[in-house]
């Protein structure tokens, strides 16, 4: 079982969800984050004081799934999230030791 963590632009979330849904994946968890990397920031000005902002709004999507599905899902995400411009984001893959479905107590792949 692995966790795929994708950090993407806020606007592409719906497309990713659609793509995953077609792929057969429905469970996921989303959170709002701020990211910083190569993408250049923005200037903000408040009463003449300038601030350069390099934390930009991103969305983090976490999907826990059977290891065998990982490559397919990664492709789905890349397809929906790639614009080719700096700032498209990253995908990280981690091993998950176990999962539990709270409602039933099911464990492992059955819990997803």
């Amino acid at each position: 079982m692995v966790k795929i963590e994708a950090i993407v632009r806020p606007g592409v979330l719906e497309d990713i969800k659609d793509g995953l849904s077609k792929f057969g994946i429905h469970g996921l968890t989303v959170s709002q984050v701020m990211g910083c990397g190569l993408q250049k920031g923005r200037k903000e000005v408040y009463r003449g004081t300038e601030y350069s902002i390099n934390l930009l709004p991103k969305v983090k999507i976490e999907i826990v799934l059977a290891a065998k599905d990982a490559d397919g899902v990664i492709e789905v995400i890349i397809k929906a999230a790639r614009t080719g411009e700096i700032g498209d984001g990253k995908i990280f893959i981690t091993k998950i030791d176990n999962a539990v479905r709270i409602r039933t107590g099911e464990k492992g792949d059955a819990a997803l």
Binding site: R9, G11, E14, R42, K43, E44, V45, Y46
Partner: protein, 427 residues
Amino acid sequence: MKKRMGVIALLALMMIFILPMFAWAAEEGIDTGDTAWMLVSSAIVMLMVPGLALFYGGMVRQKNVLNTMMMSFICLGVITIQWMLWGYTLSFGSDIGKLIGGMDFFALNGVGLEPAGTIPHQLFMVFQMMFAILTPALITGAIVERMRFPAYLLFLVLWATLVYDPICHWVWGGGWLAELGALDFAGGTVVHISSGVSALVAALVLGRRRGYGTERMVPHNIPYVVIGAAILWFGWFGFNGGSALASDGLAASVFVNTQIAAGAAVMSWVIVEWLRHGKPTVLGAASGAIAGLVAITPACGFVTPMGSLAIGLVAGALCYFAVSYAKVKLGYDDSLDVFGIHGVGGMWGALATGLFSVEAGAEGLFYGNVAQVGIQAISVVATIALAAIATFVILKVVGAITKLRADDEAEVLGLDVNEHSEKAYSV
């Protein structure tokens, strides 16, 4: 009430002869009660501008709220100066061919404290200034989330000068629509049809927002929308009531009609929506209020409370359908439904005035005077024609000078950061 507007027109002529600018003494003829009410009316119509900023600002996405509010707020700067310098005289200066005002009041020259009716002339001028400020701000609901700010500023000055000022003169400044006998108590044509139609044209010229129809585009803060609508409702008492230009029975009647139509339209919008979607929405209640207020605007000084009830009930349902059905069918992206509410509501109101009027000598259809509906229809068509054509031309001219639309990246990132280098909310 037409008489009162006549007074103003007469005054315009009189003003050609010199009246000292600071005639502090010449205050006979000024009624303190009427003046008090007009001072207050002017102030609360001014408050409608930030009310609108809140109403519109709550309805856009978070990344565009400041740009949206700025589009309204900046009118308080730009149009204050435009009106003072040349807008007032174009609208209320001595008539030229029933089409436009002359230059006699340029830079408020000759606009002093002498009585215009029972209030100081400058007070009449500033009351009308607030109308001139609010009207173009209404248009912005159609163009938010995608129009570049510099292009908007250019558009704003041109539209105020070439659309608002002439129509205002036609109807209230002694122009041809006034002569024809068109009834427009507080601005159904001048304010709402003109802005609603211009909004539609602007939405079409600008094109749809990126992602329109696929992305989720919902109000980022509905409490703002409710409070904005409520401030507008409040301000409308000054807008309509102040149009009586006095603190008398007429003003009271206007006040009552305004309240009833607004309340009725809240109910009809909410009920229709409930039937169609299974739930009454808060956004619907706020929208219904505005629809009713728009529709009663031209009629409020000419109809009975029962007439107002009818006008309001129809307005709520009609605008709901314009917004939720017609717009979708026709496929244009009028972001915040300026046409659906101000355009459609304004047209209904202008025609309804021709149906329900009980004004002596200008009764409506239901009181046996068929002609009035025709006159009202002419005023509607004339307003639509000028507003649509002039807005189109202005936008083409502005577009030739500077890009109208924000580029894709700016639209994705949000116009707040892109046009103003600011974020609405931080920690």
